[in-house]
Amino acid sequence: MNALVSATVPGVTYGCEFGLMAVGLVLTYRATGVFNLAFGAQAFASAFVFDLLSRYEQVPEWAAFVVAVVLLAPAVGLALDRFLYRHVPARAAMARTVIAIAVLLAIPELIPLLFGTATRSRIGSLGLPANQVYFHLAGTPVTGSEITTVGVTVLAAVLLTGLLRGTRFGLRMRAVVESRRLAELEGVDAAAVSAAAWGLSSFLAGLAGVLLLPQMGSLDPTDPLAFTALLVAGLTAAAVASLRSVPWALGAGVLLGVLETVLQTELPANSVWSQGLLEALPFVLLVGVLLVNPRLRTLERSQDPLAGVDPPPPPPSVSVRDARLAGPMRWGFRLLLVAFVVSSLTWVPGNWVFSLGQGLVLSVIFLSVVVVTGMGGQLSLCQATFAGIGAFAAGQLASHLGLSVLLGALVGAAIAAAVGTVVALVAARASGLLLTLVTLAFALFADSVLFQFSWSGGGYSGVTVPRPVLGPVSFVSDRAFLLLALVVLVVVMGLVVLVQRGTTGRVLAALRGSPVGAASVGVWEARAKVTVFALSAAVAGLGGALFGSIQGPISSSDFQYTVSLAFVVVVLTTGVQTVEGAVQAGMAYAVIGQALTYLPSRFSGVEFLLFAAGALTYAAHPEGIVEYQRTRWLQRANAVLAAWDTWRAGRGPGGEQGTDRARALPSAIGGEAG
């Protein structure tokens, strides 16, 4: 009994932190319609600044608290609203999730840029002295930090519930999320309400961060896994609360904290099985709650009755293109390809050849995002995990069975496809945000469990995927490998285009447009979803094997969930609808990465900041930056062509005037339609 109590006291404290995270997720989702995956990162930023001020700059604790939590945290929220979320068109629900991910990735990069990379080991805390014991509960000491955490959490939850349930502000907030336009018609200033909601939820993030400080051994701003346990438990608690109820979120969080510490102390520590179970349990629990809670399935179903008022998404750039531009563009592309091959075989310096090869390999992986998101319409956050499966399979098969790498890559792709199928089957009834969270849970599970075995991720020393040798042809040198990667990329691109233009692609387009309409003509949605996940996982697995081969030794950290998040941000902001988008994203990623090596190391994080800056454009144009720019460019080209037609029609001999006008007209209309 005493053992149980002594586990429960720290459990409740942990649980309060899980609960705060969950409450933050629920609050932002309810108030702004954004599933704010960056909540933890925002918490981290405030914690870091609080610590910096109170310990290193000798600022009094209360002043540090005011700066870090009362001022900085809401300011961050207001800035996010003002510069990003406010510009996202109402129809683009996925874009909001992607922007939150971009923020999640950008904040840990921003902090070392501002404050340097040194890890902090002495850690400050808020409120009562952290380690002083105040009283005993059934023999278990209760410390100051525990009292502070529990007290502040309960206070925050009570105030929030009151605010949401009992005030006009809470009512307005819910109205704005339900239907922004309808709320505006009722005279609610929707923009102000959203801003206030962002300020409030970000304040909560700051509070959570500062409360968490005593629990963190050290503050390493670049360690993305520091928050994994918190993220998983927070997600689970938020899912238990159906992303709707603040008290439920808090309660579930506390319960999870207690459960975790009790299991930790009760299960035999020396048994491999119980340790494995303990590692996997949070993820199993998360997926279980996501799939079992029926209220989560109706999460995104509440439809804005005024949705029809929103402007429709812009047409894809190809549909804007004047037919006369098709030929020159095709030839331009071929010329570019030849120039690329010739250059990389001749004058391009070695380090750049390596980077370009990396870019091609990344492009293959990015094609998997085009398949699952661009075609399948689902946001998957485990594409790097699929890539990892392909890479580890190819490496392990090569080292244990001596299997040729190219064959191993295909086997790896097949294994990844099988795993992708399982993920899709498990999540068969989920879609949208729910499916995204299931894929995130799988990625986190792979990080913590699946890739930690010696037979998978190769443990501490990792896995080496050799460069392929095909009979007399060796792809060991960077230049030869680049050619191989190019061939694979072109083949995979061709296959993806075939699928896009085939039955599968059209069926998926139908499902993106109207699942109900698709079912009414016999489309089996579940099967289409499994197909698209399997194909996407196969492409990612193949790309992953190539990635391992170009990289040398790889380990589980190369395929962490944050890598998946980065992939998603890069590809979606660039353009996910076309295969070209994937290639542009892959090449940009590699080229910018290589270019940045010329800058001092302190600036290595600028890469992510660049993409975060890209997010600014993306917010207003969820079709992707490249797609947006191309449409604009094509429209201008069309206008020039139309002007040319008019000019010629005016000057030409009378007899031909009529036919020329007839030709000019459709292109002029095409130009305006965009």
Binding site: T504, G522, A673
Partner: protein, 257 residues
Amino acid sequence: MSEGAALLEVAGVHVAFGGVQALDGVSFQVGPGEAVGLVGPNGAGKTTLFNVVTGQLRPDAGTVRFEGRPLGGVPSHRRARLGIARTFQRVEVFPELSPLEHVVVARRASRGEGSLWADLLGRGRLSPEEHRSALDLLRAVGLSSLAEVPVAALTLGQQRLVELARALALEPRLLLADEPSSGLDAAERASVARLLRRLVEARGTALLLVEHDLALVRQVVDRVLVLDSGALVAEGPFDQVVTDPRVRQAYLGRAAS
């Protein structure tokens, strides 16, 4: 079962949304090749009934049989493949696809055609004859000139015609049409009426037609069912039913159009 010949048999269907009894013990039959009108005031439960027949909604009680086979637990897409097609009151088109592609997707999906492997081998493209037959169908609904335009760019009326073409592409045994003429102009209405009538007479397709335009209903159907507050209140030939006092009661306050 004396009426073993019924194509669609709905028996004792109940659906409640919270406190609203949307369908309250509805039973009726539609024979093969029969055209039946389903009329009733707004909120009578007509669309709900369609959703039950197509499997989008599970009834709280009651059964639906198609060709004698109970459909309980059969998912929507399977029912489509069995030969039940529908159009929607609030259009459910695929904005990125052209009318032609709507027809092609419907054809292939309803036959369960088109695996990933076929696509990867390049067999997913449109064959010339597929193209031709899809165009024929679009010509029949009057959309052949817009066959290749993304549907997002069409008017609401044209989108309704796309839905009709898509439904006909299944070569259904039973077509459920939910207000196919709303949003259309007079000429388009007349052509939809002709099209539906021809479908029933030439193809032998059974039709269940929900429509507020009673003139159109009269032109197309053999028989009318009147639904009010979730219950069938009258049934019979059009001219007989419209004079029924219970029907007048149901429509009270509404100008019969």
